[in-house]
């Protein structure tokens, strides 16, 4: 039986991963490993790197990102992802919702944390 806290964290990660991936593409196109690196630097969302790729596949199926193969200097091709117009709109909407949601959540939790810190 999995630890309930582990399960909770896994659910949270799954929910946020899509938003986070879209956010990493906001500034321009990236290939898989670049997206993963950006996520690893700025979040705790990636546990198994391989799980990012199926999400990218879904975003592509949903028409939110485009993907194209390109030869790299190192000799093997890389698959680059970029936001489509629909993807940009979606990213912006998700970012706004996320920000509001996090602000409310923080306001809810903050008093409790302050109290226990004392």
């Amino acid at each position: 039986m999995a630890d309930p806290l582990d399960n909770w964290e896994a659910q949270i990660r799954k929910g946020w991963l899509e938003v986070a991936i879209l956010a990493t593409l906001w500034s321009g196109r990236r290939y898989g490993l670049e997206i993963i690196r950006a996520l690893e630097e700025r979040s705790d969302l990636v546990v198994a790197e391989g799980t990012v790729y199926p999400v990218l596949t879904r975003l592509r199926n949903d028409g939110l990102v485009d993907a194209e193969w390109e030869e790299s200097d190192s000799g093997h091709p890389r698959k680059y992802y970029s936001l489509t117009a629909a993807g940009k709109r979606r990213t912006l909407t998700l970012a706004k919702h996320s920000s509001e949601f996090l602000a409310k959540m923080t306001a809810l939790i903050e008093p409790l944390l302050k109290e226990t810190r004392r």
Partner: protein, 200 residues
């Protein structure tokens, strides 16, 4: 061009082979695309790690995750994508069942879908059976209300449609199939925008 020494290459190939197996029955071009991308990931990681040793490669593959965990994620995405762009009631219903097991909305959608297809079957069934059981099949009015289909002969009931039930059944039945399929597709699209339906 990045290449691996033979023992390392064997390890990478074994990993990709396990992934290929766990992708199940995805179309070959999708499988190739996935393997190509994961291979590209391994090559990039290997490049960044300096001189590649067996331990380093094992860590790269460990961080990538078990192929048996990743494959089903791809399969789930593919299933939803196919169902959304498909008009096959069977595929759509199968995907909806999957969804039904995961959320209340999915369950309600599944029930509505089952009801819709059930009605379609009922109407078409009446049209098919009328020539064979002309005195039993019909649109009956009786003391308890209406019955579309067969009633036992001894009940006192009046039949309203007569032979018109055949063109009626053949029109309304397919309309229910198309309507239900459209509804389910629409719900699947709606749902997958909110949450990864099938990602477990």
């Amino acid at each position: 061009m990045t290449t691996f020494d033979q023992p390392l290459q064997t390890r990478v190939d074994a990993y990709l082979m396990r992934l290929r197996r766990s992708l199940g029955e995805l179309p070959p071009e999708e499988v190739n695309e996935i393997l190509r991308e994961i291979r590209s990931h391994i090559l990039d990681r290997a490049e960044a790690s300096g001189e590649l040793t067996d331990e380093k490669l094992m860590r790269i593959l460990k961080e990538l995750g078990q192929p048996e965990d990743i494959g089903p994620l791809y399969q789930a995405e593919a299933m939803v994508a196919r169902a959304r762009s498909s008009f096959s009631p069977l595929l759509i219903l199968r995907t909806t069942i999957r969804w039904a097991m995961m959320s209340i909305v999915g369950f309600m959608t599944f029930i509505v879908g089952l009801f819709g297809y059930g009605l379609a079957l009922g109407f078409s069934g009446c049209a098919v059976m009328k020539p064979f059981m002309w005195d039993k099949v019909g649109f009956w009015v009786h003391s308890n209300g209406f019955t579309m289909g067969t009633i036992s002969a001894h009940e006192t009931a009046r039949e309203l449609m007569g032979w018109w039930i055949i063109p009626f059944g053949w029109t309304v039945g397919p309309l229910f199939v198309v309507g239900t399929t459209r509804f389910l597709r629409w719900m699947l699209r709606f749902a997958s925008r909110r949450s990864p339906i099938a990602a477990t």
